[in-house]
Symmetry: C2
Subunit: 199 residues, 2 copies
């Protein structure tokens, strides 16, 4: 399969790449150090990326930023950062990309445990996760030509525990390897509209 991996340089992206490039042609995309440069907050940048790559069998998004901060300091402007990047960025990869995906191909997006288990400062990320989850569950029934769509919802990753651990008290970390296996399941499996929780 030809797999387009957006956000290949992050902790999750690197593990997904390692997991998939054994069996597939993986084309990386991101803001820097990638085969294709893309800024997912820009619909035009997404369109250009798809025009450059042509047809693919799978699109994986492990990119997207969200604002972290308590509800009382969350402003419409700060919340907009999450909406522009991890919400609209991921949704627009699907809306602008499905014509570039071969029959029976797939999209795999990324959410996170925060949408189901709130943490302090995670309200904006939770909102985005809930949006992507419902979008995936609905889009699964409307995508044409057998194209599937799923999302992976990881808890805190062991490899990022020094940076993020303090925000996830009592959350049992999982390895990036285990998270990457969920993306593999989505790409190579048969399900659609599914939440792959890695908790």
């Amino acid at each position: 399969m030809k797999v387009l991996l957006i956000g290949a340089n992050g902790t999750i992206g690197r593990a997904v790449r390692k997991q998939l490039e054994m069996r597939h042609e993986v084309v990386t995309a991101g803001r820097n150090e990638a085969d294709l440069l893309v800024d997912i907050t820009s619909p035009n940048s997404i369109k250009e990326m798809y025009l450059k790559i042509g047809k693919v069998d799978a699109v994986i998004c492990a990119a997207g930023a969200t604002f972290f901060g308590s509800l009382t300091e969350l402003t419409p402007e700060k919340n907009e950062q999450s909406i522009q990047s991890k919400l609209k960025g991921q949704v627009n990869l699907v809306l602008l990309g499905h014509e570039h995906v071969n029959n029976n191909g797939s999209f795999t997006l990324t959410t996170g445990i925060i949408m189901e288990e709130p943490i302090v400062g995670g309200v904006s990320a939770a909102m985005v996760g809930g949006a992507i989850k419902a979008f995936v569950e609905s889009a699964a029934f409307e995508l044409p030509r057998g194209i599937r769509i799923n999302h992976v919802s990881p808890t805190v990753i062991a490899e990022s525990i020094e940076k993020y651990g303090p925000y996830f008290p009592g959350f049992e970390p999982v390895s990036a390897y285990r998270v990457a296996k969920a993306y593999q399941k989505s790409v190579e499996g048969i399900q659609s509209g599914k939440t792959y929780r890695v908790y």
Copy 2:
């Protein structure tokens, strides 16, 4: 209680008003024919509304538009209509409003059955509903001074069945009265972070 009801002229809004004005002071807000004019797609308009009304005990939003159309015709621009109105409009009513809500007051937002039971053309509305649900579930733990937040998720309303019935095949309609009771439960009850399904 002093209740701010945004979207008082819709099918749901009218029923909520009727249900609540027997026991509470209901101040209506909306784009027209309301005590206070507000456009929830504009943060400045929301701020002005709150400055005019001062302190309230409950904020109810029964307003917000979403784009309906199949996934293959859904563009980033059409999806943006839903994000600006029903997603950011409702979230910003909370972000910009919690300081105007008295201790132990409440917010009640509106989602819908589509986020859990997809219908053709409902992908954008589903995305918004999922976002509001996760936002509510997370914000419930962070709102200060005992302020609660819930959302009501109605199925198709009997009073709107001629207009919307064809989009909801096999969905059993509920009366606007039953939906209004859920808003009453949210405003006068004790729960927070709750989805009040009226299916």
